[in-house]
């Protein structure tokens, strides 16, 4: 087991943030406030999550595990839309469905089928794995959604030219769909390419710190990476197809007027 960290040690670590604050003050980056807020926010969020997870682990019941999972999924679904500059009515539901469908399916498969955790809702496994899957699926969904909606606007002329010549909506939207799914899968492919060489993944490092043998930790990481990339791919595909359905109607028309712009922050 790893060494417990006392509150004094936490404060010591927090002092490290002074480096960034001093830097910001000295170079007049104007980030001091943001750094403090982000640090406090992170600390509070993690301490709270630690408390909640402690309760959930103690309860040993599937309902709180699924409940936490749904809350996490809803937040991820919302965050996936947050970055895109164009939205359409129902985009939040589509994003939630894509994140939910792919993350729950893949996490469920990983828990019950591959890792064979018994019972399947064992929170010690379910919550962290779902968290990792959600984080990566969120990235994929967000990128795909943004790419698809901006492609549809940028290439509207091309798409409508195809429709005008008798293309079905599928034929006309195909290029935008493949580009969007491809974009959503790039981060996971990139991270797989450098995994272990440039980056040592957090879960693996954490397990090693906690005293697990590197061999076991590496095997867990491999399983997780496959689950992550499958979920990311499925999420990207799902959200792209849902957005396609929303923006191309059954009369083979492009409904780009449904897209509302959003002022960038």
């Amino acid at each position: 087991m790893s060494v417990p960290i006392s509150s004094v040690q936490l404060v010591l670590a927090a002092l490290l943030m002074l480096v960034s604050v001093l830097l910001s003050w000295r170079l007049r980056l104007g980030l001091g406030r943001d750094i403090v807020i982000a640090s406090v926010r992170m600390t509070v969020q993690l301490l709270l999550v630690g408390l909640v997870l402690g309760w959930v682990f103690a309860l040993r019941h599937p309902l709180p595990v699924v409940g936490i999972g749904l809350v996490m999924t809803a937040l991820a679904g919302q965050a996936a839309v947050g970055r895109s500059s164009r939205r359409y009515p129902g985009v939040y539901l589509d994003s939630f469905l894509a994140v939910f469908g792919s993350s729950f399916l893949l996490t469920g498969l990983a828990l019950s089928g591959i890792l064979q955790v018994r019972p399947w809702f064992e929170a010690q496994y379910a919550v962290p794995i779902l968290g990792m899957v959600l984080g990566n699926t969120l990235t994929g969904v967000s990128l795909s959604l943004d790419r698809f909606t901006s492609d549809v606007v940028a290439r509207r002329g091309e798409i409508e030219a195809l429709l005008s010549m008798g293309a079905t909506r599928w034929e006309a939207g195909h290029a935008a769909i493949t580009a969007a799914v491809r974009t959503g899968m790039i981060p996971v492919l990139n991270s797989m390419a450098v995994m272990g060489i440039v980056s040592l993944p957090g879960m693996m490092t954490g397990q090693i710190l906690a005293g697990v043998s590197p061999n076991t930790a590496v095997r867990y990481q491999i399983v997780i990476m496959f689950v992550l990339s499958a979920s990311s791919a499925l999420g990207s595909l799902t959200v792209t197809l849902l957005a396609f359905r929303a923006l191309f109607d059954s009369r083979d028309r492009l409904r780009a007027e449904c897209l509302m712009g959003k002022e960038r922050l």
Binding site: R156, E158, A161, M165, G166, A167, R253
Partner: protein, 211 residues
């Protein structure tokens, strides 16, 4: 052949047209007229089924637009936009592209016919150019030739010669006249701001009255 009754269109609560009727018979070349902002382009888009109808009905060969499968309908009633957009690749690839669509499958790409139209438009060495190097006018010519070889029944031209010089415009008009007369079942609907052009090409005018 193509008719519309009681069409209605609003943009941001402003009524563009209401109770608009039109009837295009085979062999006709109808010029749609009206001031800027009166919704002439929107009328052509509505006829092509690219925008949903707010009211009224469009029928082709006596059958309501809503009862046609849209790819089939649009292969008959083809819309040519003012600023055509292309994917990339060469002119030849862009000309071939619609023949890869399901609705045109089984039709071989008529290279000879395409080349003949290009010669008629004074662009004999056009095929191997990259579409990204085309000017606005050349893009219009490419879109025009592509529509001509696809051979719809009704061609909806939205300022389709607006970016062309006078010579090229005359050549395009001549090509369109020849095309529409070549087979009895063809008609043209033009939107053109140039009264002289309307006088040259149209067999009658259809004013779009703003509401």
């Amino acid at each position: 052949m193509l008719s519309a009754s009681d069409l209605r269109r609003t943009v941001a609560d402003r009524v563009l047209w209401e109770g608009l009727n039109l009837n295009v018979a085979a062999g006709e070349r109808v010029a749609v007229t009206g001031p800027s902002g009166s919704g002439k382009s929107l009328l052509l888009r509505a006829l092509a089924g690219l925008d949903p109808l707010e009211g009224g009905e469009v029928t082709l060969h006596g059958r309501s637009q809503s009862r046609w499968p849209m790819p089939h309908y649009r292969s008959q009633v083809m819309y040519l936009p003012q600023r055509p957009a292309f994917g990339g690749g060469s002119v030849l690839e862009e000309l071939r592209r619609p023949f890869g669509l399901k609705i045109h499958s089984g039709r071989p790409f008529p290279l000879d016919e395409a080349q003949r139209w290009l010669v008629a438009l004074n662009r004999p060495n056009f095929l191997n150019l990259s579409v990204t190097t085309l000017s606005g006018g050349e893009g219009q010519l490419l879109a025009l030739v592509r529509a001509l070889v696809l051979g719809p029944s009704v061609l909806l031209l939205d300022e389709a010669t607006a970016s062309l010089d006078p010579d090229a415009t005359r050549a395009a008009e001549a090509a369109l006249n020849e095309w529409s007369g070549a087979v009895p079942d063809r008609a043209l609907v033009w939107v053109s701001h140039d009264p002289a052009q309307r006088a040259r090409v149209a067999t009658r005018e259809l004013p779009v009255v703003s509401g």
